[in-house]
């Protein structure tokens, strides 16, 4: 919520009020909660929190007789709130809040291999039952998620290696070079993005940080060595990291090949005549782009670089031999 410019003091007051009407009931029910815990759970900085609590100290139920003011105590990094019975329960979820959480939860619940899946499903059922049609409308019975993928069998071994900072030897099928190779990696985070599980790891084969798609990891074998985490970022990062070795590739996509622009990260796209789309995408190796053009048959044309055209022709000839 922070970081965005706010137009006026009143909207800042509304953000703070929104926070207080949730925070106060929590603290009434959970006396002595640590400040650090509150900042973590409620996404608020400690200075914002203390200024909110100080203000609360002079608030209360008009006409503010003895016993009408809210009592706030902060001691040894813990918070107590008293005399706020009317705020002893939080404000209802707005429809927008309920929808946002319900939709996110529904989508997440079908992630194959998600450890939280069972708990999430029962939490969503409770939301449906308790919030009811008043907040969710008819939505609960109208939203569905379908589970399609299969959990990768290597996930557990990878998670264990991440948790114990253990180096592992993996066999990996790299789509960029279309080869299965063995390498030693230091895995730091397992995360899910756009339909697949990934592991962020330091790769000793290339001497660089890499992302590995978990379903392309054939085997995971602990080497017995440990490693010092380097603080590699996982969830939320871009799946493709541009490097200076990247070659800009230009393709002309006919209508049946337009899905490429939705599926891969493209740097630029220009609409052409008759539903054609010209795209530019970054590639550090031409091998996977050549295979992509191959699968598109005549539905995509290589505009540049010229060596990609040669690569596609060569690949097509070698593949065609298999059919003779």
């Amino acid at each position: 919520m922070s970081g965005r410019p706010r137009p006026a003091a009143t909207s800042r007051a509304s953000d703070r009020l929104r926070r207080l009407l949730v925070l106060v009931p929590y603290l009434v029910k959970h006396p002595g909660t640590e400040l650090s815990e509150i900042t973590r759970l409620f996404g608020v900085r400690e200075d914002e929190l203390t200024s909110d609590l100080n203000l609360l100290f002079v608030s209360g139920l008009p006409p503010y007789g003895p016993g009408d003011l809210i009592g706030v105590a902060i001691e040894d990094g813990r918070v107590w709130i008293e005399m706020a019975d009317y705020f002893a329960r939080p404000l209802r979820l707005t429809r927008a809040e309920a929808l946002a959480l319900y939709l996110r939860g529904t989508a997440l619940a079908v992630t194959p291999g998600l450890r939280e899946a069972t708990a999430l499903a029962s939490a969503l059922r409770k939301l449906e039952e308790r919030l009811g049609p008043e907040t969710l409308g008819e939505l609960a019975e109208r939203v569905e998620a379908a589970e399609d993928g299969r959990p990768s069998e290597t996930l557990d071994a990878l998670r264990k290696a991440v948790a114990t900072n253990g180096r592992v030897r993996i066999e990996y099928y790299a789509a960029s070079s279309a080869e299965t190779t063995a390498r030693e990696v230091d895995p730091e985070e397992v995360f899910f993005a756009i339909g697949n599980w990934y592991v962020a790891a330091f790769d000793h084969r290339s001497g660089e940080e890499r992302l590995f798609r978990a379903d392309r990891i054939r085997s995971v074998e602990p080497t017995g060595e440990g490693f010092e985490p380097r603080g590699l970022a996982g969830a939320g990062r871009a799946l493709y990291t541009p490097t200076e070795r990247d070659v800009p590739v230009k393709l002309l996509l006919h209508p049946a090949a337009r899905w490429v622009a939705e599926y891969y990260e493209v740097d630029a796209e220009t609409e052409g005549a008759g539903g054609d789309l010209e795209v530019q995408l970054p590639a550090s190796r031409l091998e996977w782009v050549a295979r992509l053009v191959l699968r598109l048959g005549g539905e995509a044309e290589v505009l540049s670089p010229p060596e990609l055209k040669d690569r596609v022709r060569e690949l097509a000839s070698r593949t065609k031999e298999l059919y003779e």
Partner: protein, 316 residues
């Protein structure tokens, strides 16, 4: 007086009052808030405060204070204000916490879970909030929220839609369901102009969804998910099976990662013959070609012909 303090006091006052209070009564009870000499400016401040409360989601109501409805008072009804009791286990609330924070920031989802935190005793499961989040839910954007609200309120929607083949047109749809499948959200409903049930991938809707009139009810036994079919190689219902051989480099991946794949035999050179569900159209041919010379279609003949046709096109 700080505006926040005034707002907190106003909520407390209206929540605790047994009767609706007129502005005059509120002004008397909160002189430090609305007691200034200029009645008009006090009234304007009260109106602004009311707007803030509504924006925050406080259900402030206007109720007549006498039978002749001459005077109006303001009230916050407790049963419309307070969250109903919902007890979550630490595992459940942690899972919701992960969901709210997965896939980029979302103020509304995060605020929702903060409200629900109240109903748990054990706090979060260790690691749920501090560890990097392990998953990403399908991003919830304005189009998805608008579609959800339209369904909840039984309203029809209009939007610009571009098909996967790039054809753009204006659609008018009675929205009957939302489906999350293979990483994307789909709106399923009656396309009024085409008079057919269609699925629309929301990421392909341009601009915003506009509400437009009442929506008709879905037919008996309607299930949205049945209208969004995605096979292993893309959309489409698998009808028959195909046989494909893979080189040793990719065979393990092609057999383990694909739903419904059955190994038939392994040749002495390490190539593996696999039986796969085949989607209609050319999606399977395209997928096999993505392996280049590491895969070859064995059967049916129509599949082989399609692949050879594409290879010739790619060689030109």
């Amino acid at each position: 007086m700080h505006p926040l303090e005034r707002l907190v006091n106003l909520v407390a006052l209206l929540l605790e009052s047994r009767r609706p209070l007129t502005f005059e009564q509120i002004r008397t009870k909160m002189p430090e808030g609305y007691g200034q000499d200029d009645l008009q400016s006090a009234k304007r401040m009260f109106e602004r405060d009311k707007d803030v409360l509504r924006d925050v989601g406080v259900p402030i109501e206007v109720i007549a204070t006498d039978a002749w409805e001459v005077e109006q008072g303001y009230a916050i009804l407790k049963d419309r204000y307070y969250l109903p009791e919902i007890d979550f286990t630490p595992e459940e609330i942690s899972a919701l916490f992960v969901a709210a924070h997965a896939g980029g920031p979302d103020d509304a989802a995060e605020q929702a879970v903060r409200k629900l935190l109240y109903g748990t005793d054990g706090g979060l499961v260790a690691g749920a909030a501090s560890a990097p989040l392990a998953a990403e839910a399908g991003a919830v954007d304005a189009r998805l929220t608008a579609a959800a609200e339209a369904i909840a309120e039984r309203r029809s929607v209009r939007f610009a839609y571009r098909t996967s083949r790039g054809v753009e047109s204006e659609r008018h749809v009675d929205p009957w369901g939302l489906v999350f499948r293979a990483g994307h959200w789909y709106l399923v409903g009656l396309d009024r102009e085409r008079d057919e049930i269609r699925a629309f991938r929301l990421s392909r809707a341009g601009g915003e969804l506009r509400l437009d009139g009442e929506a008709g009810p879905p037919p008996e036994g309607f299930r949205a998910v049945e209208h969004v079919v995605v096979g292993p190689f893309g959309p489409g219902e698998p009808e028959e099976r195909a046989t494909v051989a893979f080189s040793p480099d990719v065979a393990w991946w092609a057999t383990r990662g694909v739903l419904g794949a059955l190994i038939q035999d392994t040749r002495s050179d390490g190539w593996v013959k696999v039986s796969l569900p085949a989607a209609p159209g050319d999606a399977l041919a395209s997928w096999i070609l993505s392996f280049g010379p590491d895969a070859v279609a064995v059967a049916p003949e129509s599949l082989r012909a399609e692949i050879v046709h594409r290879l010739e096109a790619a060689r030109r």
